[in-house]
């Protein structure tokens, strides 16, 4: 009991300065959106806004997972491998052109469970073998890619499962089913973060692990659990990519590891842990997606885009962390 009140108390103190600090990324999102909207009529069309939100779906789910790990002060680079393994698993279990399986939802569940297993593995490597999370998850990513390559076996599995394919194509209230799934994930992530012991301890571990340990909390199981939850999100993201591309790709998760970390950090989740959260990261995801979409819409040459995007991201993060740096030097 003392622990919970302690955390709550320290939170209240944080919250005093929070309004100003947390406003940074949402304000940046609105400003960038307005700038693009002013420059390009196509950008501000309803169709394009739908397009941005749809395009953000997969990244949002990966970022949900990674946010828990970042809040804890660890890092997770396993998403690329886990997504690849999950993409191949789901595409071989639902109706496809490689075998006669047709497990539908059970296949999807299996892929998510596989993601959990990989996350569990990362967690165990961290707490039992004392491998730093950076290396443990990098290793698990390589294992995931290896498993995916074995399942790939030279022939790309194309899915013919009507339900899974429809997730990317059919729309509800103008947005694809995948987008609604992502929204559900964000809601679930937020509820876990806000109302469960797992979410609160993840925060506390990132903020002050020693205090938590001294208070008699066994931290290790929670660390493993956090990685497992993150793995589930990556597993689901792998399924979503498969739905979008209509095929199971080993490279399904290519680039998502660093995009998700970028999105989380841009949104105000700190790499040092203890700050930020699911909603922050969601703002970060939207910011990144608005940026990539907007640069194409206003017609920035592809030769310039990568550089311009990087510049804006660095500027956004710098703007977000300057107040914190002065306050308590948490950003190394």
């Amino acid at each position: 009991m003392t622990v919970t009140t302690g955390v709550a108390a320290s939170r209240r103190i944080i919250r005093r300065g929070a309004a100003f600090r947390d406003a940074g990324p949402p304000v940046a999102l609105v400003v960038i959106f307005l700038i693009f909207a002013a420059l390009s009529p196509q950008f501000r069309s309803i169709a394009n806004v739908q397009n941005i939100v749809d395009a953000a779906a997969v990244l949002a789910v990966v970022t949900c997972g990674i946010t828990f790990v970042l809040m804890m002060g660890s890092i997770d680079l396993s998403s690329a491998g886990v997504m690849g393994a999950s993409a191949l698993t789901v595409s071989l279990l639902v109706a496809n052109n490689r075998n006669d399986n047709d497990f539908g939802l059970a296949g999807i569940a299996a892929a998510i469970v596989l993601g959990c297993a990989f996350g569990f593995l990362s967690g165990l490597a961290l707490v039992l073998l004392k491998v730093p999370s950076f290396m443990a998850t990098l290793g698990v990513s390589a294992i995931g890619l290896g498993v995916a390559t074995l399942m790939f076996a030279g022939v790309q599995p194309n899915i013919s499962d009507a339900m899974l394919k429809s997730w990317a194509i059919d729309r509800f209230l103008g947005l694809s089913y995948l987008t609604w799934i992502a929204a559900a994930c964000i809601l679930a992530g937020w509820l876990i973060q806000r109302y469960t012991r797992l979410g609160r301890y993840a925060f506390a571990i990132g903020g002050a692990e020693e205090v938590l340990t001294l208070s008699g909390v066994r931290v290790k199981p929670y660390k493993v659990a956090v990685f497992t939850v993150a793995g589930a999100f990556y597993g689901l993201a792998g399924v979503m990519v498969t739905s979008q591309l209509g095929a199971g790709l080993v490279q399904a998760g290519n680039g998502y590891d660093f995009s998700a970390i970028t999105a989380a950090v841009v949104g105000g989740t700190l790499l040092t842990g203890g700050r930020g959260g699911i909603l922050h990261s969601t703002v970060g995801v939207l910011l990144v997606m608005v940026l990539t979409n907007g640069l194409v819409q206003i017609g920035v040459s592809p030769y310039w885009q990568g550089g311009v995007e990087g510049l804006i991201v660095v500027a956004a993060v710098a703007a977000a962390v300057i107040p914190q740096r002065r306050r308590n030097q948490v950003v190394k």
């Binding site: 196509q42 069309s45 169709a47 394009n48 397009n51 749809d54 395009a55 890619l145 995916a148 390559t149 790939f152 030279g154 022939v155 790309q156 194309n158 990317a168 194509i169 694809s176 990519v241 979008q244 591309l245 209509g246 095929a247 790709l249 080993v250 490279q251 399904a252 290519n254 990539t292 979409n293 194409v296 819409q297 017609g299 592809p302 030769y303 885009q305």
Partner: protein, 361 residues
């Protein structure tokens, strides 16, 4: 304390011994007269195929072609993959070259231009027969080496133009198209896009509305295409993609935008899914370099040289570094490319240079 030190000492001794052994075998190989090397018995030849990874259909078909050739001469191919990691590729090559290199034949896909030089120099020193494909710096020439038999590549300008023309034809010679470029700093992306520009010059009615990079990736192509479709709307009549993965991503984007079948899509590489898409009409055209042939031919050329049926010094200069023939696949001929297979006759020592389309300049 002593006990703690011992394993380290053992490790050091072992690695020293390994280094010394490697040094010996390299020296031994260096002493060998390359001119006398063409007398290997066919059964003594060791065939090695090295590509980035087996997780894409193209490189998987390459290794399958290598296996098919090896089987046809009663050998097996050692399959090496380096996961797109240059350092790992060099390590694998130096490990190979540290072993018995007398009758070694390597068919290598260098990771990038800069990776070719160390591979070539190592193989030359060890007297191993080498065929490289796709990547090499312009000033590095097989003709300057004794056992680097050939370098094979494809004319990207030509393939880019072929599919550009096919796209123009399928949209009736007029209308807007968008282009999805590959990784911008690669020769393949540059050449293929130059081919598109050449095609646009000849097809004045076709207008390039926009060009973006999707880095040869199916997932990126999906997002970029969706964005470009909202930007240009119904003006988009065709999509030119610098490879098939991006073309397949664009097809998914069209499906999600409800424009399936209304926009023509072309790509390059002839991956199996693209060939199927061409066959059933959802895609207009693709270009094949014939991956199975590439996997077999490098080993075949090396095998012929190692067994003395082909003398490296007698090979015409134009065949030492060349563009190989590539094939435009449209609905008419897609069926014959749907099942990738090798023709043993292509690998006969008299035929190994049959597909030379022109010398590499």
């Amino acid at each position: 304390m002593r006990i703690a030190i011992r394993p380290a000492a053992v490790l050091m001794t072992l690695s020293l011994a390994a280094a010394a052994l490697a040094g010996c075998s390299e020296e031994a190989a260096g002493d060998k007269d390359p001119a006398g090397a063409g007398a290997c018995k066919p059964a003594d030849v060791k065939l090695v195929g090295q590509v980035r990874n087996e997780s894409n259909p193209y490189e998987a078909s390459w290794l399958a072609g290598g296996d098919a050739f090896a089987k046809s001469v009663g050998l097996t191919q050692q399959r090496l993959t380096y996961g797109g990691d240059s350092t790992k590729q060099q390590e694998q090559i130096s490990q190979l070259l540290a072993g018995d290199t007398k009758c070694l034949v390597m068919n290598v896909l260098p990771n990038g231009d800069s990776d070719t030089a160390p591979i070539v120099k190592g193989a030359d020193k060890a007297g191993a027969f080498l065929v490289t494909q796709w990547n090499k710096p312009a000033d590095l020439k097989p003709a300057d080496y004794k056992t680097w038999i050939s370098h094979i590549t494809y004319n990207g300008v030509e393939s880019g133009k072929q599919i550009g023309d096919a796209l123009a034809k399928s949209i009736g010679g007029s209308g807007g198209i968008i282009a999805l470029q590959g990784v911008l700093d690669t020769a393949a992306a540059k050449d293929r896009f130059a081919g598109l520009q050449a095609s646009l010059k000849e097809n004045a009615g076709v207008q390039l509305l926009d060009q973006q990079t999707a880095n040869f990736s199916r997932a990126e192509a999906l997002t970029v295409t969706k964005t470009l479709l909202t930007k240009h709307g119904d003006k988009v009549k065709g999509i030119w993609a610098a490879n098939d993965d991006m073309a397949l991503g664009a097809l998914e984007a069209l499906q999600q935008a409800g424009k399936s079948g209304k926009v023509a899509v072309v790509g390059i590489d002839a991956v199996p899914d693209a060939v199927t898409a061409v066959q059933n009409g959802t895609m207009t055209a693709t270009v094949s370099s014939d991956g199975t042939w590439q996997g077999g031919i490098g080993l075949a050329i090396g095998f012929c040289a190692a067994t003395g049926k082909l003398q490296v010094k007698d090979i015409a200069a134009d065949n030492r570094a060349f563009y190989a023939e590539q094939f435009l696949i449209t609905k008419d001929n897609a069926a014959q490319f749907a099942q990738p297979k090798t023709d043993p006759a292509d690998f006969d020592c008299a035929n190994v240079f049959k597909r030379v389309a022109g010398p590499l300049k």
